[in-house]
Amino acid sequence: MSVNPSSALDVVDLDVAYRVRGRERQVLRGISFSIAKGESYGLVGESGCGKSTVAFAIVRHLARNGRIRDGRVLIDGRDLLTLSRAELREMRSKAVSMVYQDPGRALNPSIRVGRQIAEVFEVLGGERKESLERAEEMLRKVQIADAGSVMQRYPHQLSGGMQQRVVIAMALAPDPTLLILDEPTTGLDATVEAEVLDLVANLRQEFGASVLFISHNLGVIAKMCDRVGVLYAGSLVEEGPARALFDDPHHPYTVGLLRCIPRGGMRKDQGRLDSIPGFLPPPGAHLPGCVFADRCPLADDRCHTEPPPPVPLPGGRVTRCFYHEQAQSIPRQTPEDLPPVPRDPSIAPVLRASDVSKTFRQGISQIHALSGVSVELWPGETLGLVGESGSGKTTFARVLLGITKPDADSMLVLDDHALPGTTGKRTRDDIRAIQIVFQNPDQALNQRHAVKRIVGRALERLAGLHGRKRDDRMVALTRSVRLDDRYLSVRPASLSGGLKQRVAIARAFAGNPRIVVCDEPTSALDVSVQAAILNLLGELQRDEQTSYIFISHDLGVVRYLSDRIAVLYLGRLMEVGAAERVFDGPHHPYTEALLSAIPTIEGEERPRIRLEGDIPSAADPPSGCVFHTRCPRRIGEICDTEEPPLAEVEPGHFMRCHIPIDELRRLQVAPPPQRAPTETVPSSAA
């Protein structure tokens, strides 16, 4: 492959292996790609594909058991892999910088933030005083107000978003040729993530750096990158300009991946998500031939034995598939449509939450996790619960389940009777009526118990079945979640994420629940597995008429699955209504900002509404409307002093805002004017 002299980064035939338990496992299979000067390149893939390994191989900082077996990595024409230690240090200090996940841990907890940034300048030969001044300047460049005082702080005194800005400042300080970002916003709230991404985009323009952006989130990649490479099992299966690749994919894996994601505001009655059969290969698996052959509907014998060569396509695209022309016409895994389920509006709600509040005591301060949340849930519907950290959505779920006891005035009514606050006081029927599927199946399933025991115990306690009846029902239950019988005698540690989650779902449905709380059920899963689980949840809902309370930070998924949506901010219900109403508008200003923060694959030209400052602390909520400190549509003093009531602004659509709905409808045609930055909000986020 010829090396373009004007490229910032050239990776040629990179082959990396890890030594695990005495055997070498190949993690990168001779990949090659280039990033031009000033270009932003996205590397996308699911877990185990090797994307982080690419980043660490480029800076030559693999784990102790990792080894670069072959290949070249050229930055500005110099091969990093052949440099001496001193030369490598020089490159690291000047030419390449890296930002990775979890900024809190990337910063030294015992050294002041300003000093850590100044170090970068000192390595380049600067004097101490001058370096500190330049460090402060960098802090201003990353939009940190009050840079002077932030310089003196320790990392633990800053919020997550601010920490990531500091890390970005540190990375851009030496004006590097290449900036590598490895999942830099995973784990941050939607609005904070949007801010950080915007910052990176702006700074990229200003500094002229090339960017290698690594993520599993296709929306983020589509938003941030000019070109994209799709990585699967250590091999680059497709590459090309972002827009072209997402609109017109030419590899079965890319096609499958894109079909797994709800796109363009898709909703569940418009069609089911597709999925990719089989499992992701574990890192280092032995895969002769095409890496995707085992799961590809188009694969034949040639695909299983011969690795496909890179096929150049017009428009600067490359694909590795013998049958790439047919990629887009591969048959769907899951049948397309479902007959819609008619819902009878006259049925009574299955759950009524009235004025639910929860206050935690922490030392002397009181944390108002929930304040007066009132909402109803109908049988067979999905209520999407949306909000960022500190919104109280997890607390609300725990109150519903009876794990957390709500404050005295709160009322929960299930069907026709009141629900006691804790599981200890609830009847068995009530307990089995409300169940939960947790986010992390590793923690939600007892790793020491076999699957048979986990599901069996649930059947005994919730459905009251024993002996033969229990076993029969267990088989039926595992069938309905598509869990093969042979997994029953196995412990969760041996199962993949998707399988574990199926066990968790089976357990939740053991007692025929009326309501199932889904708390980020797919956030820890890969995209292709996610779709299968979401489809499963949809099926179960149709068959059992179960209601879901669906909590997720992925608004695309929430929009897909939910019939109604509730938006929480700082423990208060800001808006609740039918999904289309809440998403399409007119809607609450917070909802408006939240929606504008989601990066989508389509790259809608919806202008970003930036919220200034951090989310206020739940221990000391703002007066009046709690959103007023950040609201871009604040109309005046009334917002500061008087909390608006939750009013029905349209049939079935409730909002907590002083602005009348017609006014909102008129205003939200255009984005709000950028709000002037207020005085420094204390950086102690909840």
Binding site: E90, N108, R153, Y154, H156
Partner: protein, 318 residues
């Protein structure tokens, strides 16, 4: 930081109080009839009763506890049954001796073990690491009297380099006197090395594997700077606690070494009190070493909070 320390101090006081109760129960309640325990099963009842009365053991429990505790706080630690003299005199002397020995041992062991632990961490998994770790582990678990005997044999008998008791003649000079302390200090060093080196190693390994160490390396900083400025600062924090705790332990836990070398420290004092059933001496001496130990943990807390910014500066302060 101040709130943190205030809390620790208050808790320490509670613990001290509980300790005094435990010691009192052990020394005065457990024996049942202390007078009988002292005089033995064959003494006649009249003598036992009289002894109990003399020692004040026929008073109600609470009175005895209160008398002892309030006396102790004011410096009166009771009267030794064996020597018929104030306990505080003996404790004072013994304490000074224990402190000398402990200080000497610490001066030797702290630099050696920290360097050893850090080196082992830097070369994790390699031969030097395994050697240091296994050696440290073995030395730490082998009972001190075994180490002491081996040392006596090697340095005292076979090589005849050092005196085999620690009881130096009264008129000996400072450095001459140190020679007498050297063998017991070495025995102590052997034991302490394992613990301190292990903690230094663990702390350094964690620090080396951390994300912030990676950031420092990827910034292009020279290795010396990464180690000195970024890694060691965080890695040695837990080691300080271990050192302080060991120092506190040495105040009374060295019974065996003191016995073998015939060194009049707190451990030997307690042992003698135990064999002679000198209950007043026993309970006051034990309470003393308990107090010292708790004080040392407080010192460790103070040092840690001074050196750890996460405690020193809370999130709300700017």
């Amino acid at each position: 930081m101040l709130t943190f320390l205030a809390r620790r101090f208050a808790l320490a006081l509670v613990t001290l109080w509980l300790l005094s109760i435990i010691v009192f129960v052990g020394a005065q309640v457990l024996p049942g009839n202390p007078g009988r325990a002292i005089l033995g099963p064959f003494a006649d009842d009249g003598a036992v009763e009289q002894l109990n009365h003399e020692l004040g053991f026929d008073q109600p429990l609470l009175t005895r506890y209160w008398d002892w505790l309030s006396g102790f706080i004011h410096g009166d630690m009771g009267t030794s049954y064996v020597y018929n003299a104030p306990v505080s005199d003996f404790i004072g002397d013994a304490l000074v001796n224990s402190i000398q020995l402990a200080a000497f041992a610490l001066i030797i062991v702290i630099p050696v073990s920290i360097v050893g632990g850090v080196i082992a961490a830097l070369k994790v998994g390699r031969l030097i690491d395994r050697t240091i770790t296994v050696a440290g582990l073995s030395l730490a678990v082998v009972p001190e009297f075994v180490t002491a005997i081996v040392l006596i044999l090697v340095f005292g008998i076979w090589l005849e380099l050092l005196p085999v008791t620690a009881a130096a003649p009264a008129d000996v000079g400072f450095f001459e006197g140190l020679k007498y302390l050297l063998l017991p200090a070495l025995a102590l060093t052997a034991v302490l090395f394992g613990y301190i080196a292990r903690m230094a190693r663990a702390g350094t390994v964690t620090s080396l594997d951390s994300d912030y160490a990676r950031t420092a390396v990827l910034k292009g900083l020279p290795w010396r700077t990464v180690l000195g400025r970024h890694v060691l600062r965080n890695s040695l924090l837990p080691t300080i606690t271990v050192i302080a705790v060991q120092a506190g332990f040495m105040m009374g836990g060295l019974v065996v070494i003191e016995r073998i070398f015939n060194y009049q420290g707190m451990g030997l004092l307690i042992f003698n009190a135990a064999t002679r059933k000198d209950f007043p001496m026993l309970q006051s001496a034990i309470l003393t070493i308990g107090i010292i130990f708790i004080m040392m943990t407080l010192v460790a807390d103070i040092l840690t909070s001074l050196l750890n910014p996460r405690i020193r500066v809370s999130r709300a302060e700017s």
